[in-house]
Amino acid sequence: MRCHEARNLIGPYLDSELDAKTSFEIEQHLETCADCARAFEAERALDTRLFAALGRGEKTAEIWQELEAQISSANLWSRLKPARRWKLALLGASSMVSAALLAMFILLGRRPLDLAVAVAKDHRAYLAGAMAPEFAGPVPDELARTFNDRLDVRAFSTRPSIADFRTEGARVCHLSGVPVAWILGRYQGIPVSLIVLKKAELVHFPSAKRRIESGEPVICSRAGLLQFAARVVGDQVVCAVAETSKSHLEALVASVRGPG
């Protein structure tokens, strides 16, 4: 094998895509040609460095948990017996059926809930000690003046009536630019964030809006280890997030009385 032939095959050689005979010829050439051997070595070093950099990164647990939950729960299609599926596919010209099913999965399926993701991020900051309550009693007047009707002062007096809930204080936060009342507390000793926003602000969280408007009394979603639940109380949306079970959090949100 000549130098230029060997050089042309560096990529496929490093990718183990060559047949045994060609690989062997290359190896023989490299043993006798120091220049080519160095060139191969250099390319291998570059590949190693490059692929390590490009491949670095973790998966976003929230996205995959949502998708997995969607697949485990919305398996209408897979619950059909194979023979029945086959008939269905034949019946409706299979591509149309698949297209319709896909549209159904996407429309009805639960997208990662935008509001849950936003809330979970700040709750993690609270758990990490990076976010603390700013006041314990009523909302300070100078703060209330900054709300410009986008947030109701009464939102801060929202409390669950369930036993075992203790409030530590409150603050204002901004979720995707939306001002919200953030009440920090503990339920059965577990840190819980209670978030209250105006119902009208749901336009900034389209997937949460869609689910709330679909009539579910309490909407739930998981964001990693955190459970999220929300419900409409009057003209406000009350959300809770904590590292607890779905049923616990649902009960907590359901026990919230209207503000005032």
């Binding site: 250099a42 490009l54 491949g55 990164g57 398996n75 897979s78």
Partner: protein
């Protein structure tokens, strides 16, 4: 236990879990926008799930999902027709120099020098992806992140095996050149 007895959703998720991280990283390197990455992953996985009855056990699930995701990404790119603006190309003068550079022993010396790769930052390497065309980027990432075979790239992108090698060789050459020009800028 017979694999065929498990509910399809369970089987699908068992196959999906080991590939999730790689799919997400691959998708993030192909796009630059968070929301689009999420949309593409979501659409591709649901599309795969909807078509799971047509997946054959003896095929590589990883390759099958990479193919579906790549098609999803390309379709989104076409939809927004932003391919041209999201890529900038090395200028022609620089490209002409490349074959000569590759032959040069000086080039190999540079690449083997301890500082060449040590000083290249991850973010520079990732930014260098922008000098690649959509197809070159996809083949490079399918190789580097997907760990796929050439015939799987060829099947995913619906291009002949010979062109796969051409795209991959150009992708590697452009990456080398981009890293080198980053470094020249840094040392000026």
């Amino acid at each position: 236990m017979n694999e065929g007895q498990k509910p399809p959703a369970e089987r699908f998720l068992e196959l999906l879990r080991p590939v999730e991280r790689d799919l997400e990283v691959y998708c993030r390197r192909l796009f630059w926008n968070e929301q689009e990455t999420l949309d593409a992953i979501q659409n591709a996985v649901l599309r795969a799930w909807a078509a799971f009855d047509r997946y054959h056990e003896n095929a590589s699930f990883r390759a099958w999902l990479f193919k579906i995701l790549t098609n999803e990404v390309f379709a989104l790119n076409r939809k927004y027709a932003r391919i041209a603006q999201s890529e900038f190309h090395l200028d022609a003068r620089q490209m002409d120099l490349l074959p000569a550079l590759e032959q040069a022993a000086a080039y190999t010396d540079w690449l083997l020098s301890p500082e060449a790769l040590r000083d290249a930052l991850d973010q520079d390497l990732i930014a260098a992806l922008r000098t690649l065309t959509e197809t070159e980027r996809a083949v490079l990432l399918m190789r580097g992140i997907g760990n796929l075979r050439y015939r799987e790239f060829s099947d995913s992108l619906d291009i002949p095996l010979g062109s796969v090698m051409g795209h991959l060789a150009r992708a590697r050459r452009k990456m080398r050149e981009a890293i080198r020009s980053c470094q020249r800028r840094a040392t000026l």
